[in-house]
């Protein structure tokens, strides 16, 4: 105990000016660390990646410029980056919303599968409708499906105290294999490949360049815009609604929330369901904007990458969009990097891993910063 307390500043009750000054400086310091951590983490991660490239005898500058070109070099490349960022925006939001209410929804992947399933099924079923009706209905049903998949773990958490990390993870397996079975059996399209029938055009999310033809053709679809809207809505919910206020109160301090008359159990259920609904949207946009059908490998772990996105964004909904685009660009640029600079795509995993490690270890950053400040402060006494 004393060792841990060792360097925390004591409460100050000195003069008013001093007290206010102290609060202000603390506030600025904490905000600074919070804002700086993601950027510092990314910078260090790029550095680590460079060292690895250097160690393998390749030129890091060439590698990163190839990667940058592959991600942002033109409309086609930017489109690819946005395409890959789209599901990460939703899963990132899902995980971030969970974190803000003190829940670790590690099972966004499972909720994503259920959302994809609902989207494929409704997409086919609503075939005759105009897209103006069918697209919102499909998105809504995917949200309901994702929320439903999170509801059972949420209930188990609220009523029995079963930890959501275990239960949502287990539900991910159930969800994935459920989809595997459905696309090989009850909802299988004609032919040998285990996949669902294709959804009709009225159920698809069109490519942005198909609608706005002045943009050079690329694969980015309207899902990314829905994602940006979702991020703004989540930000608004957290800041301007009682729902979000109570979620954050429970996330920070359930005991104080309870004392303030907030039902921790009800808030837990609501938050995990909202998280699941957002993950469900990730599945829906993949089905509606990329594959136009469902098959059992339609997600390459977007639910799990969403955890990294949320961490990098420090659970800020608008930050999630930026972090998702960063991760999307890494994934989009990796191929070009391998092709042109001869550096293995696996370097991307190293960079991603380093980012997550450093962001997760925010205390390291704040410790380093305060260390520097203290050294300075100590010197001028």
């Amino acid at each position: 105990m004393p060792e841990q307390m060792a360097d925390t500043p004591p409460n100050r009750a000195a003069s008013t000016v001093d007290e206010k000054q102290f609060a202000l400086e603390q506030e600025r310091f904490q905000r600074g660390v919070r804002m700086a951590t993601p950027f510092i983490s990314v910078a260090i991660a790029v550095l680590v990646g460079s060292l690895v490239i250097l160690a393998s005898g390749k030129d890091p500058v060439a590698a990163f410029s190839a990667m940058f070109f592959g991600a942002f070099g033109g409309a086609r490349q930017i489109g690819e980056t946005l395409l890959r960022a789209t599901p990460l925006v939703f899963t990132g939001l899902a995980v971030a919303y969970g974190f803000r209410s003190g829940l670790f929804n590690i099972g966004a992947e499972g909720q994503l599968f259920l959302g994809g399933l609902a989207a494929a099924f409704m997409g086919v079923a609503l075939g005759g409708l105009s897209w103006m009706l069918s697209v919102p209905l499909i998105l809504l049903s995917a949200m309901i499906a994702g929320a439903a998949w999170a509801f059972i773990p949420a209930l188990m958490k609220a009523k029995l105290g079963a930890h959501e990390v275990i239960t949502t993870m287990m539900f991910t397996y159930i969800g994935r294999y459920l989809v595997s079975w459905i696309v090989t059996g009850p909802f299988k399209a004609e032919g040998a490949i285990p996949q669902s029938p294709m959804i009709p055009a009225s159920s698809q999310l069109p490519r942005i360049s198909d609608v706005f033809t002045f943009i050079q053709p690329n694969r980015a679809h309207f899902g990314i815009l829905i994602g940006v809207v979702a991020a703004i809505v989540v930000w608004w919910i957290l800041k301007y609604t009682v729902l979000g206020y109570e979620a954050r109160a429970v996330g920070f301090n359930p005991t104080a929330a309870e004392t303030g008359g907030i039902s921790v159990a009800a808030t837990t259920i609501k938050s995990l369901c909202i998280s699941g609904a957002l993950a469900g949207l990730a599945g829906a946009t993949e089905v509606m904007g990329v594959h136009y059908r469902l098959f059992d490998q339609f997600s390459s772990g977007f639910g799990f990458t969403g955890i990294a996105v949320a961490l990098l964004a420090k659970n800020n909904p608008l930050g999630v969009v930026a972090a998702a685009i960063l991760f999307g660009s890494l994934s989009a640029g990796a191929g070009t990097m391998q092709l042109e600079a001869g550096v293995s795509q696996k370097v991307i995993s190293i960079i991603q891993g380093t980012i997550i490690f450093l962001v997760g270890a925010e205390t390291i950053v704040s410790w380093a910063v305060s260390r520097v400040r203290r050294a300075r402060g100590g010197a001028d006494v």
């Binding site: 105990m1 004393p2 060792e3 307390m5 060792a6 360097d7 500043p9 004591p10 409460n11 100050r12 009750a13 000195a14 003069s15 008013t16 001093d18 007290e19 206010k20 000054q21 102290f22 609060a23 202000l24 400086e25 603390q26 506030e27 310091f29 904490q30 800041k239 301007y240 609604t241 009682v242 729902l243 206020y245 109570e246 954050r248 109160a249 920070f252 301090n253 005991t255 104080a256 929330a257 309870e258 004392t259 303030g260 008359g261 907030i262 039902s263 305060s370 400040r373 203290r374 402060g377 100590g378 006494v381």
Partner: protein
């Protein structure tokens, strides 16, 4: 004020020290980011002397002693032990130099025995390299006999009272050959009887040549047993004196830097109707054992009802049951005639019950929230704070600013995190929220715990103001002085029951202390044995 308030108390340094100091801190400064916690502080203590380090919270006394004990490193200054300049980088250096420290929160391993705790880390071993329990026990018995610290070496620490646990902590230091003993707020958790015993122990220690440093903010204790008093304020030593040279009033003035009302002035109570009626309340604790075994009382408007008792005798469960945080298993709670026994916290708040919880960090505040969001807590679903589930941020900001001003919360603005306020200001923020909603009943649990004199004065005045405006106040406190000075009536709780009731001002601390520890029963009352629950 025309005369310098400190002049009367100030004496040349080192007065009363006829022996050379064993521990000296010379010109110590300690800087934290943004704060100078110790500013060029010098202090010394000699063998056979009790030095009291007196000051408000945040005055820098604990920081100074943590520097001496190696928990913090000084930004500047020198530590001298036995006339030699020393480097103390960690507690183990301090221990080697004969410095021992007993913290406010004990560092004991509860399931282990007293002996095991004392020798932990310095166990005597036999030739096989195993712990020699017989030698360990013998050493412990020897030390405890030498200093008159009676404690059973074989009982488990978890079975001991707080006062006994503190003895174990002192023995731990003595076992490590401490010659300088630092006690950090040693009386905060003790009953009056235990405080008395502690002071006898301290006297015995100094008579055998130890030097004792006591960190405290309690004036009466300093007056009672310190040989020398060092008063700190805002990181500096502002005075050095002896009890003979000073009064409580002058010490308080030095500590706070202005005149302080030590005894709250309150007029006679204007007792109104019954606001809170608790009848035959039975409540289980977390382990499902009865913590309240049938408690009945009423609190009237215009009255402060104080609950005295040693911590852990059902007070927490009582407060939680009234505030809707714990479901009673029997009996009723009603507010102005309305049954609220089974209401949850939200409905209890809405019914007009405000709650200042004993632990403001855990229960009172969401430390990560800014002041605005903390002010909203509990009222977030009510207009004008929100409508149809949407927060009205500008109404919230306005209300928060008004309350911050009303309750004198010292903050740069209303958008800093509550964690960045000092303890006193955090508690003012809790009061701003709980009293600002204009409740029928205020349940205040340990409302001044850990606060400095100035903030205590503020909280007390606000509580009395509630009472004077006709509200009912239920005050639960371990501080007898607080209960006695604020309450119009006092109930004493012991083992889940109300064992005595007094009119305010008609009981002494000693009487209360006796009831609090299970004594003082009149023969007409039922004996405890017949009622003891067998489920325990």
């Amino acid at each position: 004020m025309s005369a310098d308030p400190q002049a009367a108390c100030e004496l040349p340094p080192n007065v009363g020290q006829d022996r050379p100091p064993i521990l000296e801190l010379r010109n110590v400064s300690k800087r934290f980011p943004g704060v100078l916690a110790n500013d060029d502080v010098s202090a010394s203590v000699a063998p056979g002397e009790v030095l009291a380090l007196l000051g408000e919270n945040g005055a820098g006394k604990s920081t100074l002693m943590n520097v001496a004990y190696g928990l913090l490193s000084a930004s500047a200054g020198e530590i001298v032990v036995d006339g030699n300049s020393v480097q103390i980088r960690a507690p183990r250096d301090a221990i080697r130099l004969g410095i021992g420290m007993v913290h406010q929160h004990f560092m004991l391993v509860e399931p282990l025995t007293v002996t095991e705790n004392i020798v932990l880390g310095m166990e005597p071993t036999n030739s096989w390299g195993l712990i020699d329990r017989a030698v360990a026990r013998k050493r412990v018995v020897e030390i405890s006999a030498k200093y008159g610290l009676k404690v059973d070496p074989d009982s488990r620490v978890m079975d001991l009272s707080v006062g006994m646990q503190q003895r174990v902590e002192i023995l731990k230091a003595l076992y490590r050959d401490a010659r300088i003993l630092i006690l950090d707020e040693p009386t905060a958790v003790l009953t009056p009887q235990e405080v008395h015993e502690l002071f006898q122990i301290v006297r015995e220690l100094v008579s055998q040549g130890l030097a004792v440093v006591i960190i405290t903010h309690k004036l009466d204790e300093v007056m009672a047993f310190a040989d020398r008093i060092l008063v700190m304020r805002a990181g500096r030593v502002v005075g050095e004196t002896t009890p003979e040279e000073c009064s409580e009033q002058s010490l308080a003035r030095m500590m706070v830097g202005r005149d302080v009302v030590l005894k709250i002035d309150k007029g006679p109570a204007k007792i109104g109707e019954v606001v809170l009626d608790v009848s035959d309340l039975v409540v289980l604790d977390d382990r499902k054992l009865p913590a309240l075994k049938g408690v009945s009382f009423a609190v009237h408007g215009g009255e402060v009802l104080g609950i005295a008792g040693v911590s852990g005798n059902g007070q927490r469960e009582l407060v939680e049951a009234i505030t809707g945080l714990r479901r009673p298993s029997g009996g009723t709670v009603s507010l102005k005639g309305r049954d609220i026994t089974h209401d949850d916290a939200r409905r209890t708040i809405a019914a007009g019950v405000s709650h200042v919880p004993e632990d403001r960090h855990r229960r009172g505040l969401v430390l990560e929230f800014d002041l605005v969001e903390n002010v909203a807590l509990g009222d977030q679903r009510r207009e004008p704070f929100s409508k149809h589930g949407i927060l009205n941020r500008s109404a919230l900001d306005t209300e928060a600013r008004a309350r911050i001003k009303d309750y004198d919360v010292r903050t740069p603005n209303e958008h800093v995190a509550a964690s960045n306020l000092s303890g006193g200001n955090q508690q003012k923020l809790v009061l701003a929220r709980e009293l600002g909603r204009n409740p029928e009943l205020l349940v205040a649990s340990q409302p001044t715990r850990g606060l400095d004199v100035g903030a205590i004065e503020f909280v007390h005045r606000r509580i009395i103001a509630e009472r004077d405006s006709g509200k009912a106040v239920l005050l639960v406190s371990m501080e007898l002085e607080e209960v006695m000075s604020l309450s119009d009536r006092i109930l004493v709780m012991y083992e889940g029951r109300v064992v005595a009731e007094f009119e305010g001002g008609q009981v002494t601390e000693e009487e209360l202390g006796l009831f609090m520890t299970g004594g003082g029963r009149t023969p007409t009352e039922p004996s405890r044995a017949s009622e003891e629950d067998t489920g325990a």
